[in-house]
């Protein structure tokens, strides 16, 4: 088994002290070490936001792209070289706000990749505006009288769009989170790990104590992750008790399994560029 330190990147995280994202990074490094995936075979793709700085802090190939566009870049990377372990990371604004269209369709596609969303219910990098997962009536910099819109449920959205591994973790439960990530990376298909990752600077509502009081583990209540209806029901459980853990898991052929261009099993990136069959294409123009 590999050592966690092999996955520590060249750059020290620049997150605020106490940020939930430290726990996410640690859990991811632990999961990769446990699975013994060589760092050079991992491609991490992120968008923009505090949490999207993660690729630089991890020893793996990284692509730190545009705001909201991590999933299409990750999809292109996976389809281009499906021998890589592809992990997309980002925040709730990145994935459920500006990038939600891609989220919906990536779930449908069942690309074999893991999507880790550091969900802090706030826009941190832009100093504290409401996000798609900010609860109704919460006051933020952009909603001084409280948010008018209701919060989006990432779990329910992922389930309804066809994601085949849907989990939620809490960065205050590091070993549990690492287990969920291991399961997600091992899962053949699109895996969402939504993580409660408190913003200690701009979210004074959803704090560590706030989550600690409420979260409970689905595993502790003998939740059956093969039961779609139950998963959907649990997705909307919010308030005094909030579930974390594996909501749903199902095996379905991945996009790569069914894509004709990948039937040979050889990644596109490894195929030769020079062709000798061009005459046969010319014939068709006649």
């Amino acid at each position: 088994m590999a050592q966690v330190k092999e996955y520590i990147g060249k750059v020290k995280p620049d997150w605020c002290p106490g940020c939930g994202d430290f726990g996410v990074l640690n859990a991811l490094q632990r999961a990769l070490a446990d699975l013994d995936i060589a760092p050079h075979n991992v491609q991490v793709v992120s968008g923009i936001g505090c949490s999207s700085n993660l690729p630089g802090f991890l020893n793996a190939y990284g692509f730190h792209g545009l705001h909201g566009r991590s999933l299409p870049v990750a999809t292109g990377a996976k389809l281009g070289n499906h021998s890589l372990t592809v992990i997309a990371t980002g925040g709730d604004g990145d994935g459920y706000g500006i990038g939600v269209g891609h989220f919906v369709h990536t779930c449908r596609r069942n690309i074999d990749m893991t999507y880790i969303v550091m969900d802090n219910q706030i826009y941190g990098l832009t100093t504290g505006q409401a996000s798609p997962t900010t609860e109704k009536d919460v006051r933020t910099k952009s909603t001084p009288e409280g948010t008018i819109e209701i919060a989006l449920s990432p779990i329910a959205l992922a389930l309804s769009c066809g994601a085949t591994y849907v989990a939620r973790g809490f960065s205050g439960e590091n070993l549990h989170l690492a287990q969920l990530m291991k399961g997600a990376i091992e899962h053949k298909g699109f895996a969402l790990v939504d993580v409660f990752s408190p913003c200690v600077t701009y979210n004074k509502h959803n704090t560590y104590p706030w989550f600690r009081e409420r979260v409970y583990k689905l595993e502790d209540e003998r939740h059956d992750p093969s039961d779609f209806r139950l998963a959907m029901e649990k997705a909307f459980e919010w308030g005094a008790r909030i579930p974390i853990g594996l909501f749903y898991k199902v095996n379905r052929p991945t996009y790569e399994d069914e894509e004709p261009a990948l039937r040979s099993g050889i990644p596109l990136a490894k195929l030769p560029l020079q062709r000798n069959d061009l005459a046969s294409f010319m014939e068709d123009f006649i």
Partner: protein
């Protein structure tokens, strides 16, 4: 006695759904297989209720540059077509129609034009055979060998069985026999073809084919006219070519997926029209900043906004030049011919990897959706150049190494020992971001200089622009991209009249070849731009880059392509009436200038839409 010409033009028109495209394509392909050069343009007259479509097909013994501007033979699949165009059919020509559908009288056409009415029901017993019977009559009257079209009918209906083939061949033969018996041979004839079976296609399939030839394995797109035929060609040949074709949720995804594939080392491309390109804009800069190879095709159509979805225009030049915030190297190719669609697609994929930046190919509906015979497509000497690739690390790999050329050797994800993060934030040689917490203005400047240095090396490698025609011409026609061939046709016609005209048509827009363009323009006496837009975009770009002003302008933005006569007339007027001026003439804004010339008069295309000044 017939007049044997070097070319003739057939128009096939009807309502959308009448099968104009398939009848027109069959005729075009039959001619291209019979040794003729062919040029066909499908004109959608969307201003007319009912979705009127008219395909203009010109065939010739020599290279045919455009759809031309006359109608020698008209196949009117409905009465509307007859009423609109019958009067335009030239003397010695003919109008073909189905007598079951409408009646036509000799006073509705010019003197010397035959009305060839075919009683489809009586001959074929089935109105579905209308197009086939009319084609039989057409081939008979114009005297083009019918063997190729019979072969095509067989090919087309093979899957439907022998009975369908027989029915169609029978209708075709009966149409021909009826015309032979009741009507005279057409007086406008084209000499025999040379027997060579020529390839026939439009710009989009050739851009797609060129990409495949260059080893492109990934094409992501969202459907949008007039770029969709790239997607369709790629899908059709995906299995054979081993290309992964991904239809995406939007153009933002299409562009970002192509970048993802490019990042891991796949030659990747995306394609769209102007509106979809607007959505890709941010990610064009992403490719520039992360130094990811990617090829983007923008097929222009009439704008602004949704504009004219099925019409042509060249009005996206500044969108292409200005796409994305900030500054980064980009290449913009504007192929002028089908052959260049193919060769520039290959060049685009090579340059994308060699210079690690976005390469844009722009074309327009006119170039992309036409059907034209082509040659000069070299399939035997396709050069692949990936630029420097690192496959083994000595432990000191730096993805964004500062180099004299600005190009840093690339390592592909999966390679041991060369791990890095490619970031859209400014970063240092290791890819570590220096945008925010660890700012580094000196490194920022070095990285900008490094990326922008690629441009000077690109400029050394790109082929120089050239002028076609006599170098002592009295008038130079200036344009870019798809107006090339109409300018060539005008030039040849004017030169035959004894007027000295040449053509300067740009095919590389960026990086702009300032010195070469200026040197060439300084050799020109009088200049006239030919551009399918309102504001004179290439004129502005040339002035901006060289300080030289094109003096006279012919512009068109009604959505239809230029016709040769429009260019010829305008050029002749300038040569006969305008004083010679230097290209260094005083600079004025183009907007709001009074017209130099009266607008183009053209019954079919709406004179109000043509503007020159």
């Amino acid at each position: 006695m017939g007049q044997t010409q070097t070319d003739l033009t057939v128009w096939i028109g009807g309502a959308a759904g009448d099968g104009i495209a398939s009848a027109g394509e069959s005729f075009a392909k039959a001619c291209s297989r019979s040794g003729y050069h062919v040029f066909a343009h499908n004109s959608y007259q969307s201003v007319i209720r009912g979705g009127h479509v008219c395909m203009h097909i010109r065939i010739g013994q020599q290279k045919v540059y455009t759809q031309g501007d006359v109608c020698n033979y008209l196949v009117a699949l409905n009465q509307d077509t007859f009423q609109r165009y019958a009067k335009r059919v030239t003397k010695g020509g003919a109008v073909f129609y189905n007598t079951d559908k409408f009646k036509a009288a000799q006073d509705q056409v010019a003197a010397g034009v035959q009305l060839i009415g075919i009683p489809v029901m009586e001959l074929a017993g089935n109105q579905l055979m209308q197009n086939t019977a009319l084609m039989g009559a057409l081939m008979q009257v114009i005297g083009v060998d019918a063997a190729a079209i019979r072969e095509m009918i067989k090919e087309r209906f093979t899957k439907k069985g022998e009975a369908v083939i027989t029915t169609n061949l029978d209708a075709f033969d009966k149409g021909g026999a009826f015309a032979h018996e009741k009507f005279k041979p057409g007086e406008i004839r084209v000499g025999k073809g040379d027997g060579k079976r020529r390839p026939l296609a439009g710009g989009n399939p050739l851009i797609a084919f060129g990409s495949v030839a260059a080893g492109c394995r990934f094409y992501s797109a969202y459907p949008m006219t007039p770029a969709s035929s790239i997607l369709h060609w790629m899908v059709k040949y995906a299995a054979k070519a081993g290309v992964l074709v991904k239809q995406c949720e939007d153009e933002i995804a299409a562009m970002n997926m192509a970048i993802g594939a490019g990042h891991v080392g796949v030659r990747a491309m995306t394609g769209t029209a102007g509106g979809g390109f607007a959505l890709m804009t941010e990610a064009i800069g992403e490719a520039g900043m992360t130094e990811t190879p990617v090829v983007i095709v923008e097929v222009q159509r009439g704008g602004p906004s949704t504009g004219l979805p099925t019409k042509t225009e060249q009005a996206d030049l500044f969108q292409l030049l200005g796409a994305s915030q900030g500054e980064f190297p980009r290449v913009i190719f504007a192929p002028r011919t089908l052959q260049e669609c193919y060769s520039m697609a290959i060049d685009a994929h090579n340059l994308a990897e060699k210079y690690q930046c976005p390469i844009l190919i722009t074309s327009d509906l006119y170039l992309s959706e036409r059907l034209e015979t082509f040659d000069g497509v070299d399939i035997n000497h396709v050069k692949i150049d990936r630029g420097p690739l690192v496959t083994q690390s000595d432990g000191a790999y730096r993805r964004f190494l500062l180099t004299p050329t600005g190009v840093s050797p690339r390592a592909l994800p999966g390679t041991p020992g060369t791990i890095y993060t490619a970031a859209t934030d400014e970063h240092d040689e290791d890819g570590i971001v220096i945008s925010d917490v660890f700012t580094n203005p000196a490194m920022r400047v070095k990285m900008m200089d490094k990326r922008m240095r690629k441009i000077e090396h690109l400029l050394k490698e790109l082929p120089a622009p050239t002028i076609d025609g006599p170098n002592d011409a009295d008038l130079t026609l200036v344009g870019w991209g798809s107006t090339y061939q109409v300018m060539l046709e005008a030039m040849e016609a004017l030169n035959k009249e004894g007027l000295k005209v040449n053509v300067f048509c740009l095919r590389i827009i960026a990086p702009f070849q300032v010195n070469e363009v200026r040197a060439l323009l300084e050799t020109c006496k009088v200049t006239m731009s030919v551009e399918a837009n309102y504001t004179g975009q290439i004129v502005k770009l040339i002035r901006m880059e060289t300080g030289l002003s094109i003096q006279h302008h012919l512009r068109k933005y009604d959505g239809e392509p230029f016709e040769p006569k429009q260019v010829i007339d305008q050029a002749r007027t300038i040569l006969k009436t305008k004083p010679k001026q230097s290209v260094l003439a005083s600079v004025q804004s183009d907007e709001g200038l009074p017209p130099d010339f009266s607008p183009i008069e053209h019954p079919a295309i709406g004179a109000e839409a043509a503007r020159q000044h």
